[in-house]
């Protein structure tokens, strides 16, 4: 099955996969099958777990239909040129019985006529949010409302797109190998086992249930996590954020600076104040923060920050091969886990800004 992204240039992966039994079995338990990308992320456990735990298909959605999620996943991954995620969603749709023609129809926007208006609106939302980000949030929200989506549905959809923007970048920037996933629908064994695979997938995907937020978050993005209170998204997001802050490969200040750069690049007026406040709590003055955000550098930055702060802006709008080469060029200047954690933080920031703008009413 020819993929529309097969021609997208994709550099060789520079991460040596490192098997981690605990992380891999966590992914298998949650997703019903092994996840081939996990060994590449195992040196930064919060990132590997976050990619599994925040995956909307596995118990996080209460409103949005899984099928809509898949279709949104297809177009957002296409927008972000993520060959890995794109191939994974295609394989998922194929395993569920969708014909290759129909998958291609959705990719090419030809299926508008036979898709329900809400699905069409959700797909358009995924596209527009990936392209314009927070700046287009208000128009995107109005379009969804016109298509009949309620507030909770819109918030879930914003989360789905945010997760995809996070996952797409996390897989694209280190150039996680795509061939094993792209080949799935062409393999004879997989074709024979298609009904069985479909059954396994169906069993492992489940609806979310109302979940209380036991712990009041104590980190930036508090408002964002609270905006999802009652949904299983809130504790899952809170856990990932907490683990991200707890990880020691990069300093808290470095992570905050990267988040601030992405928020500025996306003109996110929702996330920026909270991150700015957190940076001031780290001892940075307002003028120092402004200097970093204007010039992507400052004399008071440490050597790791001086590398990762400008790199964060490369993750906002990118061509896969270009950003992959830029990341690869940093390998000699950072440790492997530092670089991977930097990629994880920047990827997450790209998702959170888009999500914040939708869920917290971007002006």
């Amino acid at each position: 099955m020819a993929s529309a992204l097969e021609h997208v240039a994709w550099e060789p992966c520079w991460i040596e996969p490192r098997p981690d039994r605990a992380l891999e079995s966590h992914a298998r338990r949650k997703q019903g099958m092994s996840n081939p990308a996990i060994p590449y992320f195992s040196s930064v456990p919060w990132l590997a777990r976050g990619l599994v735990d925040l995956h909307p298909e596995y118990g996080l959605l209460m409103q949005i239909d899984h099928h809509i999620m898949d279709l949104v996943g297809l177009v957002v991954s296409q927008e972000n040129s993520c060959r890995f995620c794109y191939a994974a969603v295609r394989a998922m749709l194929w395993a569920q019985g969708m014909s290759t023609e129909r998958i291609q129809g959705v990719e090419q926007d030809q299926a508008r006529a036979d898709l329900p208006p809400r699905t069409v609106a959700a797909i358009a939302f995924g596209r527009s949010q990936s392209r314009s980000g927070p700046v287009g949030a208000r128009a995107a929200r109005d379009a969804l409302r016109r298509a009949g989506l309620g507030t909770d549905e819109m918030k879930e959809l914003a989360f789905v797109v945010a997760f995809l923007d996070f996952s797409n970048r996390a897989h694209t920037i280190p150039a996680i190998p795509t061939r094993p996933v792209e080949r799935i629908p062409d393999q004879l064994l997989m074709r024979l086992l298609r009904p069985l695979v479909n059954r396994i997938l169906r069993k492992s995907r489940y609806r979310g249930q109302a979940t209380s937020l036991d712990r009041v978050p104590s980190y930036p993005y508090v408002r964002l996590v609270r905006a999802y209170e009652g949904s299983p998204i809130a504790p899952a997001l809170g856990r990932t954020l907490e683990e991200m802050w707890g990880s020691r490969h990069l300093t808290r200040r470095c992570k905050l600076l990267m988040l601030a750069v992405v928020a500025r690049g996306l003109a996110c007026e929702v996330c920026a104040p909270e991150i700015g406040e957190a940076l001031q709590n780290e001892g940075m003055t307002e003028s120092a923060i402004a200097h970093v955000l204007t010039h992507l550098d400052a004399p008071e930055l440490d050597p790791v920050e001086r590398i990762l702060v400008p790199f964060a802006r490369d993750t906002i709008w990118y061509e896969p091969a270009v950003v992959q080469r830029r990341a690869r060029a940093l390998r000699d200047r950072l440790t492997g886990p530092q670089l991977l954690e930097g990629i994880g933080v920047a990827s997450l920031a790209n998702g959170l800004c888009r999500m914040g703008a939708m869920a917290l009413d971007h002006p």
């Binding site: 021609h7 927008e79 291609q104 090419q108 500025r264 003109a267």
Partner: protein, 263 residues
């Protein structure tokens, strides 16, 4: 006897049907392959177009098809315009063979475009031996001033390398003048029904071109306007130039020569 004839006839019919079915399947497969190729081509085209205009504009154009309303895609934007022009090219063009001249010119355009692209700019158009590029036109870019000046410095470095190559071939050295200005303008699909391009219209582009012209007056290769300075990295070494009157602007224009970027 009759049974045999019937059996043979049925078998012949079945064979003919099987043949027809086989041919039909092959035909369908061939059509599908052509459709796949056309879809892939379309995808390529859409992606190529996204490099010429913002992805949102391309999407709107594709959705609208021929019922295009260019005015709907127009918007006001703050953009940094970079205008580059070869110094003394006209004299050189009279001396060189057309084929050599074209090769020299293409090598120059390629190197300059690479430097611009590497620093997140996009080449809008080639005007004779000139290049007009924008920073912040296709995607929002709060760091557009720094990007434009870094691109200009990369163009200077690329030009030096190219001149070494040209000297090796016994060809004359090239020199480029670059003017950079930031300002507001109208961005959108501009042109006639027959030929349209994503462009940026306004005083910003004119002033960048005029500032480029001032590089000859001040005998420098890179000049920027005052509008860039507030957002410019302090590590750029700038030298203020005397204010000069330029066509179409009431007040004399203050410019700064970019010497280097300190690491």
């Amino acid at each position: 006897m009759n049974r045999t004839i019937v059996a043979v006839a049925v078998m012949a019919l079945l064979a003919a049907l099987a043949g027809a079915l086989y041919r039909q399947r092959r035909h369908t497969a061939s059509l599908r392959a052509q459709l796949d190729a056309a879809a892939a081509e379309l995808q390529h085209l859409q992606e190529a177009c996204s490099r010429l205009a913002p992805a949102g504009v391309v999407q709107r154009l594709i959705a609208d098809g021929l019922r295009l309303s260019p005015e709907a895609a127009a918007e006001r934007k703050v953009v940094t315009a970079l205008f580059a022009d070869l110094v003394g090219f006209t004299a050189m063009s009279e001396r060189l063979e057309p084929a050599v001249l074209a090769r020299v010119l293409n090598g120059y355009f390629q190197r300059m475009s690479d430097a611009i692209h590497e620093h997140r700019g996009h080449v809008s158009t080639f005007l004779g031996d000139g290049i007009l590029a924008y920073f912040g036109a296709l995607q929002p870019n709060p760091w557009q001033c720094n990007d434009a000046v870094r691109a200009a410095l990369a163009m200077r470095a690329a030009m030096r390398e190219y001149n070494v190559e040209l000297a090796r071939e016994g060809l004359p050295a090239l020199a480029v003048g670059i003017g950079i200005h930031r300002g507001t303008g109208l961005a959108g699909m501009i042109g006639s029904r027959e030929r349209m391009e994503y462009g940026f219209v306004g005083r910003t582009v004119n002033l960048a071109a005029r500032v480029q012209g001032l590089t000859r007056t001040h005998q420098v290769d890179i000049l920027i306007t005052e509008a860039l300075r507030p957002d410019l990295d302090t590590r750029f070494v700038l030298a203020p130039m005397p204010a000069e009157p330029v066509k179409g602007i009431a007040e004399p224009v203050v410019t700064y020569a970019v010497r280097e970027a300190l690491s």
